[in-house]
Protein backbone atom coordinates (compact mmCIF):
# COMPACT_ATOMS: atom_id res chain seq x y z
CA UNK A 1 0.00 0.00 0.00
CA UNK A 2 2.70 2.38 1.03
CA UNK A 3 5.08 1.85 -1.78
CA UNK A 4 2.65 2.80 -4.53
CA UNK A 5 1.83 5.94 -2.59
CA UNK A 6 5.49 6.74 -2.36
CA UNK A 7 6.03 6.04 -6.02
CA UNK A 8 3.05 8.11 -6.98
CA UNK A 9 4.39 10.96 -4.94
CA UNK A 10 7.96 10.64 -6.05
CA UNK A 11 7.39 10.29 -9.74
CA UNK A 12 6.04 13.79 -10.28
CA UNK A 13 8.97 15.13 -8.34
CA UNK A 14 11.40 13.45 -10.66
CA UNK A 15 9.32 14.33 -13.64
CA UNK A 16 9.63 17.97 -12.74
CA UNK A 17 12.66 19.78 -14.00
CA UNK A 18 14.70 20.51 -10.90
CA UNK A 19 16.35 23.43 -12.60
CA UNK A 20 13.21 25.28 -13.44
CA UNK A 21 10.59 24.45 -10.85
CA UNK A 22 10.59 26.30 -7.57
CA UNK A 23 11.64 24.48 -4.46
CA UNK A 24 8.95 23.34 -2.09
CA UNK A 25 8.75 22.12 1.44
CA UNK A 26 9.13 18.58 0.27
CA UNK A 27 12.64 19.18 -0.95
CA UNK A 28 13.75 20.34 2.46
CA UNK A 29 11.94 17.50 4.14
CA UNK A 30 13.83 14.99 2.03
CA UNK A 31 17.13 16.58 3.00
CA UNK A 32 16.01 16.59 6.60
CA UNK A 33 15.13 12.91 6.38
CA UNK A 34 18.52 12.06 4.96
CA UNK A 35 20.26 14.02 7.69
CA UNK A 36 18.14 12.37 10.34
CA UNK A 37 18.80 8.91 9.01
CA UNK A 38 22.51 9.59 8.70
CA UNK A 39 22.52 10.84 12.26
CA UNK A 40 20.72 7.82 13.61
CA UNK A 41 23.02 5.51 11.68
CA UNK A 42 25.99 7.44 13.03
CA UNK A 43 24.77 7.19 16.60
CA UNK A 44 24.19 3.47 16.40
CA UNK A 45 27.18 2.58 14.33
CA UNK A 46 30.03 4.57 15.79
CA UNK A 47 31.93 3.25 18.73
CA UNK A 48 33.79 6.49 19.17
CA UNK A 49 32.04 8.75 21.65
CA UNK A 50 32.76 11.74 19.49
CA UNK A 51 31.18 9.94 16.55
CA UNK A 52 28.03 9.37 18.56
CA UNK A 53 28.02 13.04 19.42
CA UNK A 54 28.30 13.93 15.76
CA UNK A 55 25.36 11.66 15.03
CA UNK A 56 23.29 13.58 17.55
CA UNK A 57 24.24 16.83 15.89
CA UNK A 58 23.13 15.45 12.54
CA UNK A 59 19.79 14.32 13.95
CA UNK A 60 19.16 17.70 15.50
CA UNK A 61 20.11 19.35 12.26
CA UNK A 62 17.70 17.18 10.35
CA UNK A 63 14.94 18.28 12.68
CA UNK A 64 16.02 21.87 12.27
CA UNK A 65 15.80 21.50 8.54
CA UNK A 66 12.15 20.58 8.87
CA UNK A 67 11.40 23.45 11.24
CA UNK A 68 12.99 25.95 8.92
CA UNK A 69 11.20 24.46 5.92
CA UNK A 70 7.83 24.64 7.60
CA UNK A 71 8.47 28.17 8.75
CA UNK A 72 9.57 29.50 5.41
CA UNK A 73 6.94 31.25 3.33
CA UNK A 74 9.10 30.85 0.23
CA UNK A 75 8.56 27.17 0.14
CA UNK A 76 4.82 27.35 0.30
CA UNK A 77 2.30 28.29 -2.25
CA UNK A 78 1.03 31.81 -1.88
CA UNK A 79 -1.02 32.22 1.24
CA UNK A 80 -0.50 28.68 2.45
CA UNK A 81 -0.07 28.48 6.20
CA UNK A 82 3.43 28.25 7.59
CA UNK A 83 4.87 27.88 11.03
CA UNK A 84 6.05 31.43 10.60
CA UNK A 85 8.43 32.77 13.12
CA UNK A 86 7.79 29.94 15.53
CA UNK A 87 9.65 27.51 13.34
CA UNK A 88 12.66 29.76 13.17
CA UNK A 89 12.66 30.39 16.88
CA UNK A 90 12.46 26.71 17.64
CA UNK A 91 15.28 26.05 15.21
CA UNK A 92 17.27 28.72 17.00
CA UNK A 93 16.65 27.15 20.37
CA UNK A 94 17.57 23.76 18.99
CA UNK A 95 20.88 25.14 17.80
CA UNK A 96 21.56 26.74 21.17
CA UNK A 97 20.63 23.66 23.12
CA UNK A 98 22.67 21.50 20.79
CA UNK A 99 25.67 23.66 21.62
CA UNK A 100 24.94 23.23 25.31
CA UNK A 101 24.47 19.52 24.87
CA UNK A 102 27.75 19.29 22.98
CA UNK A 103 29.56 21.09 25.79
CA UNK A 104 28.27 18.71 28.43
CA UNK A 105 28.79 15.68 26.25
CA UNK A 106 32.34 16.71 25.58
CA UNK A 107 32.96 17.17 29.27
CA UNK A 108 31.58 13.71 29.91
CA UNK A 109 33.67 12.28 27.11
CA UNK A 110 36.71 13.92 28.59
CA UNK A 111 36.02 12.41 31.98
CA UNK A 112 35.41 9.08 30.37
CA UNK A 113 38.70 9.36 28.60
CA UNK A 114 40.39 10.23 31.86
CA UNK A 115 39.02 7.11 33.48
CA UNK A 116 39.29 4.66 30.64
CA UNK A 117 41.98 6.11 28.40
CA UNK A 118 39.71 5.56 25.43
CA UNK A 119 36.66 7.10 23.86
CA UNK A 120 35.21 3.77 22.81
CA UNK A 121 31.63 3.78 24.10
CA UNK A 122 31.55 -0.02 24.12
CA UNK A 123 33.95 0.13 27.02
CA UNK A 124 31.51 2.12 29.07
CA UNK A 125 30.04 -0.97 30.68
CA UNK A 126 31.05 -0.42 34.27
CA UNK A 127 27.47 -0.31 35.41
CA UNK A 128 26.53 -3.56 33.71
CA UNK A 129 24.96 -5.92 36.20
Amino acid sequence: MEMPVLAAAVVPIFAANPFTDPVGVIHYLVVGAVLFTAGIACMTLKRNALGVLMGIELVLNGANMNFVAFSSPYLRADGAPTLGLDGQVIALFVILLAAAEAAVALAITLNFYNNHATVDVDRADDLKG
Partner: protein
Protein backbone atom coordinates in the same frame (compact mmCIF):
# COMPACT_ATOMS: atom_id res chain seq x y z
CA UNK B 1 11.74 56.92 8.62
CA UNK B 2 15.09 56.00 7.41
CA UNK B 3 14.67 53.77 4.47
CA UNK B 4 17.18 52.92 1.90
CA UNK B 5 15.81 52.20 -1.48
CA UNK B 6 18.59 49.96 -2.42
CA UNK B 7 16.45 47.00 -3.02
CA UNK B 8 17.76 46.37 -6.47
CA UNK B 9 20.58 44.62 -4.80
CA UNK B 10 18.47 41.78 -3.71
CA UNK B 11 17.52 40.89 -7.16
CA UNK B 12 20.66 40.59 -9.11
CA UNK B 13 22.46 38.11 -6.95
CA UNK B 14 26.16 38.19 -6.90
CA UNK B 15 26.21 39.58 -10.39
CA UNK B 16 25.50 42.96 -8.95
CA UNK B 17 28.93 43.85 -8.05
CA UNK B 18 29.99 44.59 -11.54
CA UNK B 19 26.65 46.07 -12.45
CA UNK B 20 27.06 48.81 -9.98
CA UNK B 21 30.30 49.76 -11.56
CA UNK B 22 29.08 49.66 -15.10
CA UNK B 23 26.50 52.30 -15.84
CA UNK B 24 25.34 50.74 -19.08
CA UNK B 25 24.10 47.70 -17.28
CA UNK B 26 21.17 49.59 -15.93
CA UNK B 27 19.73 50.33 -19.28
CA UNK B 28 17.91 47.12 -20.10
CA UNK B 29 14.81 46.51 -18.00
CA UNK B 30 13.75 43.00 -17.20
CA UNK B 31 11.26 41.22 -15.04
CA UNK B 32 12.44 38.96 -12.31
CA UNK B 33 10.75 37.33 -9.44
CA UNK B 34 12.29 38.02 -6.11
CA UNK B 35 13.59 35.02 -4.27
CA UNK B 36 15.74 34.81 -1.23
CA UNK B 37 19.48 34.81 -1.55
CA UNK B 38 19.18 36.93 -4.58
CA UNK B 39 18.33 34.10 -6.89
CA UNK B 40 16.22 34.85 -9.87
CA UNK B 41 14.09 32.99 -12.29
CA UNK B 42 15.22 33.84 -15.71
CA UNK B 43 14.86 32.13 -19.00
CA UNK B 44 13.60 29.02 -17.37
CA UNK B 45 16.46 28.47 -15.00
CA UNK B 46 15.44 28.82 -11.39
CA UNK B 47 18.64 29.69 -9.67
CA UNK B 48 17.07 29.27 -6.33
CA UNK B 49 16.37 25.67 -7.19
CA UNK B 50 19.79 25.13 -8.63
CA UNK B 51 21.46 26.49 -5.53
CA UNK B 52 19.14 24.38 -3.44
CA UNK B 53 20.12 21.27 -5.34
CA UNK B 54 23.77 22.11 -4.91
CA UNK B 55 23.56 22.68 -1.19
CA UNK B 56 21.18 19.79 -0.64
CA UNK B 57 23.49 17.43 -2.46
CA UNK B 58 26.45 18.64 -0.43
CA UNK B 59 24.55 18.37 2.83
CA UNK B 60 23.40 14.83 2.18
CA UNK B 61 26.69 13.66 0.73
CA UNK B 62 28.72 14.89 3.65
CA UNK B 63 26.18 13.61 6.16
CA UNK B 64 26.63 10.17 4.65
CA UNK B 65 30.35 10.85 4.67
CA UNK B 66 30.19 11.30 8.43
CA UNK B 67 28.65 7.86 8.76
CA UNK B 68 31.06 6.26 6.35
CA UNK B 69 34.28 7.78 7.65
CA UNK B 70 36.28 5.97 10.28
CA UNK B 71 38.72 8.68 11.23
CA UNK B 72 37.34 11.06 13.82
CA UNK B 73 38.96 14.10 12.32
CA UNK B 74 37.57 13.32 8.90
CA UNK B 75 34.17 12.72 10.41
CA UNK B 76 34.33 16.11 12.05
CA UNK B 77 35.41 17.71 8.81
CA UNK B 78 32.54 16.12 6.90
CA UNK B 79 30.19 17.20 9.64
CA UNK B 80 31.44 20.76 9.28
CA UNK B 81 30.85 20.66 5.55
CA UNK B 82 27.43 19.12 6.01
CA UNK B 83 26.38 21.68 8.59
CA UNK B 84 27.84 24.49 6.52
CA UNK B 85 25.84 23.40 3.49
CA UNK B 86 22.78 23.10 5.70
CA UNK B 87 23.39 26.72 6.68
CA UNK B 88 23.31 27.49 2.97
CA UNK B 89 19.92 25.76 2.79
CA UNK B 90 18.70 27.90 5.66
CA UNK B 91 19.77 30.98 3.78
CA UNK B 92 17.87 29.74 0.76
CA UNK B 93 14.78 29.21 2.87
CA UNK B 94 14.93 32.82 3.94
CA UNK B 95 16.04 32.06 7.48
CA UNK B 96 19.21 34.08 7.24
CA UNK B 97 19.63 34.55 10.93
CA UNK B 98 19.29 30.84 11.56
CA UNK B 99 21.80 30.20 8.82
CA UNK B 100 24.35 32.57 10.26
CA UNK B 101 23.66 31.17 13.71
CA UNK B 102 24.23 27.68 12.37
CA UNK B 103 27.56 28.75 10.92
CA UNK B 104 28.64 30.47 14.08
CA UNK B 105 27.47 28.07 16.76
CA UNK B 106 27.07 24.67 15.23
CA UNK B 107 30.12 24.85 13.10
CA UNK B 108 32.07 26.54 15.89
CA UNK B 109 30.95 23.80 18.24
CA UNK B 110 32.08 21.22 15.75
CA UNK B 111 35.40 22.95 15.67
CA UNK B 112 35.82 22.02 19.28
CA UNK B 113 34.76 18.49 18.44
CA UNK B 114 37.46 18.48 15.84
CA UNK B 115 40.03 19.67 18.31
CA UNK B 116 38.98 17.03 20.75
CA UNK B 117 39.14 14.47 18.03
CA UNK B 118 42.70 15.44 17.41
CA UNK B 119 43.59 15.62 21.07
CA UNK B 120 42.05 12.37 22.13
CA UNK B 121 43.55 10.44 19.28
CA UNK B 122 46.89 12.14 19.28
CA UNK B 123 48.80 9.22 20.68
CA UNK B 124 48.46 7.47 17.33
CA UNK B 125 47.52 10.08 14.79
CA UNK B 126 45.21 8.05 12.65
CA UNK B 127 43.84 5.60 15.11
CA UNK B 128 40.24 4.68 14.65
CA UNK B 129 37.82 2.65 16.62
CA UNK B 130 36.23 0.89 13.74
CA UNK B 131 32.85 -0.78 13.82
CA UNK B 132 32.76 -4.28 12.45
CA UNK B 133 31.53 -4.88 8.95
CA UNK B 134 28.48 -6.78 10.17
CA UNK B 135 27.55 -3.72 12.20
CA UNK B 136 27.96 -1.64 9.13
CA UNK B 137 25.68 -3.86 7.09
CA UNK B 138 23.11 -3.85 9.82
CA UNK B 139 23.30 -0.08 10.08
CA UNK B 140 22.95 0.28 6.33
CA UNK B 141 19.83 -1.90 6.30
CA UNK B 142 18.32 -0.16 9.31
CA UNK B 143 19.18 3.24 7.93
CA UNK B 144 17.66 2.44 4.56
CA UNK B 145 14.45 1.24 6.20
CA UNK B 146 14.29 4.33 8.37
CA UNK B 147 14.85 6.54 5.39
CA UNK B 148 12.16 4.75 3.44
CA UNK B 149 9.77 5.17 6.34
CA UNK B 150 10.54 8.84 6.69
CA UNK B 151 10.24 9.47 2.99
CA UNK B 152 6.94 7.68 2.88
CA UNK B 153 5.69 9.89 5.64
CA UNK B 154 7.06 12.96 3.95
CA UNK B 155 5.44 12.23 0.63
CA UNK B 156 2.13 11.28 2.14
CA UNK B 157 1.03 14.83 2.86
CA UNK B 158 -0.32 16.50 -0.23
CA UNK B 159 0.11 20.02 1.06
CA UNK B 160 3.83 19.46 1.37
CA UNK B 161 4.13 18.43 -2.22
CA UNK B 162 2.99 21.76 -3.54
CA UNK B 163 5.83 23.80 -4.96
CA UNK B 164 6.71 27.08 -3.35
CA UNK B 165 5.39 30.35 -4.62
CA UNK B 166 8.59 32.23 -4.24
CA UNK B 167 7.25 35.75 -3.97
CA UNK B 168 7.30 37.01 -0.43
CA UNK B 169 8.88 39.84 1.52
CA UNK B 170 12.65 39.69 1.70
CA UNK B 171 13.98 38.15 4.82
CA UNK B 172 14.72 40.24 7.81
CA UNK B 173 16.06 39.22 11.16
CA UNK B 174 14.18 41.95 12.92
CA UNK B 175 10.93 40.07 13.61
CA UNK B 176 12.96 37.24 15.05
CA UNK B 177 14.93 39.60 17.24
CA UNK B 178 11.79 41.36 18.38
CA UNK B 179 10.11 38.06 19.10
CA UNK B 180 13.00 37.05 21.31
CA UNK B 181 12.52 40.14 23.43
CA UNK B 182 8.82 39.49 23.64
CA UNK B 183 7.31 41.51 20.84
CA UNK B 184 5.76 39.85 17.85
CA UNK B 185 5.86 42.02 14.79
CA UNK B 186 5.57 39.33 12.15
CA UNK B 187 2.57 38.44 10.10
CA UNK B 188 0.43 35.67 11.31
CA UNK B 189 0.40 32.62 9.07
CA UNK B 190 -2.91 33.47 7.50
CA UNK B 191 -2.09 37.07 6.89
CA UNK B 192 -4.13 38.68 9.60
CA UNK B 193 -2.38 40.62 12.35
CA UNK B 194 -1.83 38.24 15.21
CA UNK B 195 -2.30 40.42 18.19
CA UNK B 196 -2.85 37.59 20.57
CA UNK B 197 0.42 35.85 20.05
CA UNK B 198 3.12 36.26 22.58
CA UNK B 199 6.81 36.60 22.04
CA UNK B 200 9.63 34.39 23.17
CA UNK B 201 10.94 36.44 26.03
CA UNK B 202 10.57 33.70 28.61
CA UNK B 203 12.02 30.87 26.53
CA UNK B 204 14.83 33.17 25.57
CA UNK B 205 15.64 33.85 29.21
CA UNK B 206 15.35 30.19 30.06
CA UNK B 207 17.73 29.27 27.31
CA UNK B 208 20.14 31.96 28.48
CA UNK B 209 20.14 30.62 32.00
CA UNK B 210 20.38 27.12 30.65
CA UNK B 211 23.46 28.04 28.70
CA UNK B 212 24.99 29.57 31.77
CA UNK B 213 24.25 26.46 33.79
CA UNK B 214 25.74 24.31 31.08
CA UNK B 215 28.80 26.50 30.94
CA UNK B 216 29.35 26.14 34.65
CA UNK B 217 28.47 22.46 34.58
CA UNK B 218 30.82 21.67 31.73
CA UNK B 219 33.54 23.65 33.43
CA UNK B 220 32.96 21.66 36.56
CA UNK B 221 32.93 18.31 34.82
CA UNK B 222 36.07 19.00 32.86
CA UNK B 223 37.73 21.00 35.58
CA UNK B 224 41.37 20.72 36.32
CA UNK B 225 42.10 18.60 39.31
CA UNK B 226 44.80 20.08 41.40
CA UNK B 227 47.56 17.95 42.69
CA UNK B 228 50.59 18.76 44.69
CA UNK B 229 53.69 17.92 42.79
CA UNK B 230 57.24 18.87 43.53
CA UNK B 231 58.83 20.93 40.85
CA UNK B 232 62.27 22.11 40.03
CA UNK B 233 61.37 25.54 41.17
CA UNK B 234 60.89 24.22 44.71
CA UNK B 235 64.61 23.95 45.03
CA UNK B 236 64.65 27.68 44.67
CA UNK B 237 61.79 28.21 47.03
CA UNK B 238 63.73 27.04 50.02
CA UNK B 239 67.03 28.73 49.48
CA UNK B 240 66.80 32.17 48.02
CA UNK B 241 65.22 35.31 49.26
CA UNK B 242 63.89 36.09 45.84
CA UNK B 243 62.62 32.61 45.35
CA UNK B 244 59.19 33.45 46.62
CA UNK B 245 58.61 35.80 43.80
CA UNK B 246 60.31 33.49 41.41
CA UNK B 247 58.07 30.65 42.29
CA UNK B 248 54.97 32.72 41.97
CA UNK B 249 55.71 33.85 38.50
CA UNK B 250 56.59 30.33 37.48
CA UNK B 251 53.26 29.08 38.68
CA UNK B 252 51.35 31.75 36.89
CA UNK B 253 53.05 30.70 33.76
CA UNK B 254 52.28 27.05 34.14
CA UNK B 255 48.67 27.33 35.15
CA UNK B 256 48.09 29.81 32.43
CA UNK B 257 49.43 27.41 29.93
CA UNK B 258 47.21 24.67 31.14
CA UNK B 259 44.19 26.82 30.77
CA UNK B 260 45.27 27.83 27.33
CA UNK B 261 45.94 24.39 26.04
CA UNK B 262 43.14 22.35 27.40
CA UNK B 263 40.14 23.35 29.33
CA UNK B 264 39.55 26.88 28.21
CA UNK B 265 39.14 25.99 24.59
CA UNK B 266 36.59 23.43 25.58
CA UNK B 267 34.79 25.88 27.75
CA UNK B 268 34.71 28.77 25.46
CA UNK B 269 33.95 26.73 22.43
CA UNK B 270 31.40 24.53 24.02
CA UNK B 271 29.65 27.31 25.77
CA UNK B 272 29.00 29.41 22.78
Amino acid sequence: MEIFHVGNTVMGGSALMLDTLLPFAASVPSQHVSLPFGAVVLAGINWHSVLFLLFAALTCAFAIGVVAADNVVRMALYLVFSLGSAAGLFFLAGAEFIGAMQLMIYVGGTLVLLVFGVMLTAQAPFVSIKPSSSDKTLAAVAGASLLALLLTAVFSVDAWLAPGAGVVPPPSATPLGMALVGVRVDDSPVGAPSTGRSGYMLPFEIVSVHLLVVLVGAAYLARAKRRKTPRAIDALASSEPFAGRAAVSGAVQVTGARAAGGSSSALVGGGR
